[in-house]
Symmetry: C2
Subunit: 236 residues, 2 copies
DNA sequence: GGTCGTCAAGAACACTGTTCTCGTCGAGTT
DNA sequence: AACTCGACGAGAACAGTGTTCTTGACGACC
């Protein structure tokens, strides 16, 4: 029988089992995260098992294989980044549009700098045979949705001048707008996408060390370019 | 004695040896590139050796180890990308600034889409223990230097309005301008950097599959955003 | 109390990067 | 022309990896 379905009589014992199992899951991921931060993307199951004082094959009771563990870490990373951005944005008064915009961008940068290995896992090289499972697409879209939400709250249709959006791109944007309940104009969504791309370009360059020898005032550099993007997206 | 120092008498034989050795180098890298494209970042020396019909230890006659082979591939990738951008830009009349700008950006995208694994090698996750050797910094800077060269050729100091560049960032930009002979204004170099960041954000998103389900008109999307950036950088 | 599922251990397999030794063969020197 | 020395490739070996299978043991349920 499935222990999840057992009734309330022996529920406490069964849920204790489930709880210790869940804690084991968490501990494995925790140790794996430490190894990821120390060693980079090539995570060793045996090393994780060694750190936990168990034998490698014991890990297979909790994860079907290395890829599954990596997937779990990837999902956690997306959710961590999404949560950081969501919390930061939620702490700003709704009418302070520029404040919300900056809060999202700063949260992404801070989280990425605090968790470089996990950031690399989700925004770096896609791993070889790995295909993103369905459960990653929702958390992965969180940041751009937050930016789009700020863009939607901007009153009016005013935007800084720029080249017209070509029709095929317009069609893509229209489709995306129709899929979601939001109703922001296509031109503004286009600018939000530009900001989204630029934001992660900025963060990736910094996290991956590409600014190391050319920009030392990284925080100011980031703030300034986020301001540039906010203007481009039509924020007041 | 060092065969490189032998005089012209036996030079032909010696250079023949050197030539076959260099060809071996090239062939190893070629096979490794194929494996990289097929398998992703985890390159197997033994698989490369198997494909070449030699024993794994024989590879160590040509490369001190796996990291050295990877480094060689990275250097080649930087140089390939840089050469593609340079050639494309050189084919445009000097006075067609916008044409040169677009040529660089399109070349980067084309090269990246044609060599996704190598692009991932240089613009994705930095590999774990690997530190970029000195020989990579010059080819790595090629693209941004090309963009800066176009920016320098723009007559006048006119730029679309935007937030002021903060002083610490200004200092970084001033230092970079002083190091190189170019003399473009700091504000413009700042916009060039914005375009550089956005360009690679755009290309990385596309190559790494992040646009897969949201934008189908990728070429038009790219062109449009490059135009947006060209405007922002002050191109006429 | 008996039965069954879960857990950890251990051994095993195939694979990896790397090092070492050992013949072989060709070019340079005397 | 004989000798020497270097480069070359093969092969074995070592340590490490992901993964699978089997074997006991222990706790929860009928």
């Amino acid at each position: 029988m499935f222990s999840k379905l057992c009734d309330t009589g022996a529920m406490s014992a069964s849920s204790l089992r489930a709880r210790v199992r869940s804690e084991m899951h968490q501990e494995i991921k925790e140790v794996a995260r430490r190894h990821l931060a120390a060693e980079g993307a090539n995570l060793s199951l045996r090393a994780v098992a060694r750190d936990m004082g168990i034998v490698p094959s014991a890990l297979y009771r909790y994860f079907p294989g290395r890829d599954a563990l990596l997937t779990a870490l990837i999902v956690d990373a997306y959710e961590g980044l999404g949560a950081a951005a969501t919390d930061a944005e939620a702490a700003v008064p709704r009418e302070d549009l520029r404040g919300r915009w900056f809060a999202v961008c700063r949260a992404v940068r801070s989280w990425a700098l605090a968790h470089p290995a996990e950031y690399g896992l989700i925004y770096g090289n896609p791993v070889p045979g790995y295909v993103a499972p369905q459960e990653t697409v929702v958390p992965a879209a969180k940041v751009v949705l937050l930016l789009a939400a700020v863009g939607r709250d901007i009153p009016g249709d005013a935007l800084p001048a720029g080249p017209p959006v070509p029709e095929p791109v317009r069609a893509d944007l229209r489709r995306l707008i129709d899929e979601r309940p939001g109703d922001l104009p296509e031109e503004r969504l286009d600018r939000v996408f530009a900001a989204w791309t630029h934001l992660f370009g900025l963060v990736s360059f910094e996290v991956f060390g590409r600014l190391d020898t050319i920009i030392v005032a990284r925080a100011e550099y980031f703030e300034h370019h986020v301001a540039l993007l906010a203007d481009l997206a039509g924020l007041p």
